[in-house]
Subunit: 274 residues, 2 copies
Amino acid sequence: MKKWKRSARLVDMTRRLLDQPHRLIPLNTFVERYEAAKSSISEDLAILHDVFQQEGAGILETVSGAAGGVRYIPKVEVGKSKEIAHYLCRELQNPARILPGGYLFLSDLLGDASLVRDIGRIWASYFADHRVDAVVTVETKGIPLAYATASHLDAPVAIIRRDSRITEGSVVTINTVSGSSKRLGSLSLSRRSLHEGARVLIVDDFMKAGGTVQGMVDLMAEFNAEVVGVGIMADTRVEERLVENYVSLATVTEVNVKEKKIRIQPGNLFEYWR
Amino acid sequence: MKKWKRSARLVDMTRRLLDQPHRLIPLNTFVERYEAAKSSISEDLAILHDVFQQEGAGILETVSGAAGGVRYIPKVEVGKSKEIAHYLCRELQNPARILPGGYLFLSDLLGDASLVRDIGRIWASYFADHRVDAVVTVETKGIPLAYATASHLDAPVAIIRRDSRITEGSVVTINTVSGSSKRLGSLSLSRRSLHEGARVLIVDDFMKAGGTVQGMVDLMAEFNAEVVGVGIMADTRVEERLVENYVSLATVTEVNVKEKKIRIQPGNLFEYWR
């Protein structure tokens, strides 16, 4: 292994830190790897921190003491988050999304890996200080958002199924009633997917009255898990809401099937986050 | 905006390139952003390339000419890929995974966002030169792997459903027969999820005889899409295989329910990739 030049060291440290968000890396790891003085490493980390912060990409958090080190916390600035939400709103407004029954076609947006990653980064930023142990979602369309969020939080994902499958092993199942259509259903989560007492962030793509989200919250109680937050890509304006405690990026205020018109406004996230 | 120092520029360029894999960035973007000479930017890019390559993280590909620029191609070295495959094999060997009927519990592995990202990077490396337009999978467990792969390829994801949902709009559906259990089923993909003639990479978590993968290949033909590769996390040794053209990270050679024993070996990927 050749000796590390400072320029190469900066590139490599950047790469390593970005690749391991929320993970504490002891300073000595860098000291030994680059055969450099602790003071030089600290100087470099200060540069990284300044650039990340200036560019709205996050911060480096330094923990002092024997068990100390540095960790990269991804952050999106509220301004950049608003840009992403506005892009989402513009896309959602496209009347070609209207399906029979007033449903909206979203699969193309959820198939856009880059948009999904941006949304995941927003939830990871907003809930960065909530010590999230696991990100929980329900199949199918919430899954990409859950992974994008989890990968920025260094947390595992647990996927709730609508029907229990043989491949899930022993499961906990609860029955649900959809808040908007009063349809019955069930939600199941494999016992092994979540440890008791976990601090859980719930992520989903779409919420009407919130029957499914309320079902997920109830299911979490069966695991003695604590729901520390709920992040929804798009919610709808409804008369009676089953869930109040959530944040959304966009709100569908009207879907007019006859006139082929959709009205969207930025979600409630920006009432809390300024 | 303060003037960029070279050290800060190196950190920021690293961050920007890593964040946009497979995307061509014109050199002028950097020249203007950092108010630096083209020759300085080129020198910096050479340093980034050397560090990425030395650390087995990928390469910077330079395209010359007026429409030229630089793009970051993520790569995992075959050695590192083998380490990941070995870790996967060790995990799969745990007899606690055995479920009734000889099924294996995999949800914990697929819930591990860091392992999933590593596997996605392997597929993105192996298929880096295949000009993939879209990554295709079938719900549910293949979804995380598909997104991890797609985010390293800068490609969208299309999710095939086992039952067609109202929220998918108009779909193309085909009927399938499971190769191992001869069960009937169907696979549907929303028309809008994939454009005609796309070059497609199929990704899934598990394959027995390959009935589902063959179904996905057949469905792709309905879109006039070209399947340029198939990447499976774990396959099983079977007498009669419906699909031959695929790569896997691990192969389950035996599941003995009575003796609670699982035998695993590295998958066929490493027969092709040395």
